[in-house]
Symmetry: C2
Subunit: 333 residues, 2 copies
Amino acid sequence: MTPLRVGIVGIGWWSNVLAETMQASDKLDLRAGYTRSAEKRAEFAGKFGCDAVDSYEALLARDDLNAVILTTPNSAHREGTEQAAKAGKHVFVEKPISNSLEDGRAMIEACDAAGVTLAVGHCYRRNGALRHMRHMIDTGELGRISMAEAFFGNDNGMKMKPGVWRTDPAEIPGGCLMQLGIHQIDNMLYLMGPVSEVSAYFNRLETEPEIEDVTAVLLRFESGSVGFVGSNYCSPLRFDLVTHGTKGNAFFELNTDGLRVQKTGELERKPVDYPPIDHLTAELEDFADAIAEGRPPEIGGREALAPLAIVLAAGRSSAEGRSVKLSELLPDA
Amino acid sequence: MTPLRVGIVGIGWWSNVLAETMQASDKLDLRAGYTRSAEKRAEFAGKFGCDAVDSYEALLARDDLNAVILTTPNSAHREGTEQAAKAGKHVFVEKPISNSLEDGRAMIEACDAAGVTLAVGHCYRRNGALRHMRHMIDTGELGRISMAEAFFGNDNGMKMKPGVWRTDPAEIPGGCLMQLGIHQIDNMLYLMGPVSEVSAYFNRLETEPEIEDVTAVLLRFESGSVGFVGSNYCSPLRFDLVTHGTKGNAFFELNTDGLRVQKTGELERKPVDYPPIDHLTAELEDFADAIAEGRPPEIGGREALAPLAIVLAAGRSSAEGRSVKLSELLPDA
């Protein structure tokens, strides 16, 4: 297979992480990078052996590129995607797909019209442990699942200063939930199926910029099960997910114990072996494979509307003090 | 100190647990037991070397008893307490104080009027690990606390058959939340302070009797922090509580790892030493000490109204699809 030839746009710490992932993969070939700062793009090009391009338009005009990866601010995803689609480039955009459903839908339409692939970076569901948890659910090993809880938080909010996009309330409706918790929302959708209803409490306790740094969300699933996703920006890094089944509880801790299972009649949580998968490699290679094979990627634009809608529904619930049906935001889903 | 001379009422598996606790304490002297079944009370009396009494009235008439412990069905707490108070006996009643705030308030009034002590069995906050977690919060070791999550569930619902009080919907509004989750609600109040608002989703998925076996509750605290309490009756026993602070996360797992702390800049959750406290011994000895010292117990009737009100507010929230302010149920709190 010919590697997918990629240009990356919006250079910061995250594009460095993705560039390292591409360097280690033979399915993606990072050829060019663009960001507004000439200094930053030169440094990036030097580090990863690719070209620094002077403008987004120049990058899109290059015939040697098949695809762009957008790690730009959330609110720039739509315009960047529409331009790329017009130029016939496939698009991988970081999560959230956008800050509004309107923008997300426009991105889907633009890529459909141009016949290019749109993929969205909800990476964690591809982690080997969560793939294996899903396998245990599908095979019945955990029995019927009644509840799931997840938490993703860190203390970045303690250091946040106004003036960069991640601290701009207009850029991040839902604050830490839009940036961190949305990953666990996608994991919940992956493991538990569609969500019908959302209740939430948001608050800002510690961050200087006026973004929510504490978000607690209840999910009612169409299956009848219930779930919780917590997120914050004001305590040490934690990424945990638990599912409760009639035959066992499964515990995933990303940074500590991996995957453990507690079976009926036992108290101990026993480590479980599973095929290791690097979730960033998996998501970028799925993007490349989808294009090569002419199939949709696992998380296309449509799949990415649900986690976005849940974040927005949670904000509405917190503001209005009521449970919000997802059909209010996604009437066609 | 002369031991408190106790009669226990409503003999079942839980009264056996409390009787064993009293046998190991020199502050309580179990003298008599009453339950409707003559066979059961004779067996209990033989096992614990106390008298089997023929009626509750006969037990209350005994001059050698200072106090009663009621492990009767929730709906019988009020009448049992009112009778005991009239007979001048101090009352220890299992959680919840009752199934309704009206009953709970009547119990408080009856004991106040008779000048006897009323204590309610919210035991887990006395566990050494939770005492130590509270100490770490009070001393600032964890920094300012933004969020907390707790779960208490087991798979008892899978075995439940109609016909006993724990499976009667009228006896257990809120199902597993009233029986199990209420313990974590009390722990939340202990660690995080008063609750202002509650949102919840309830469901029944697995139990044959028509009681809720899946309950997910969001708490908004007066401090601005937020919390989650999950409970179910359809997966293996789990009792966990996590608090998130600006300087550290604290993890409590009752049946597995005890208390662990993750400090800022670290991923590892390191075991923490704390003075061990048996929570059942502590709650019963607090009852005896409070009477001997003429002071209120840690959890009297008034303190027990808040967790009950939160369970009832959660049920209202789930049924009405809205956030419920606790002041709706406890206007004077």
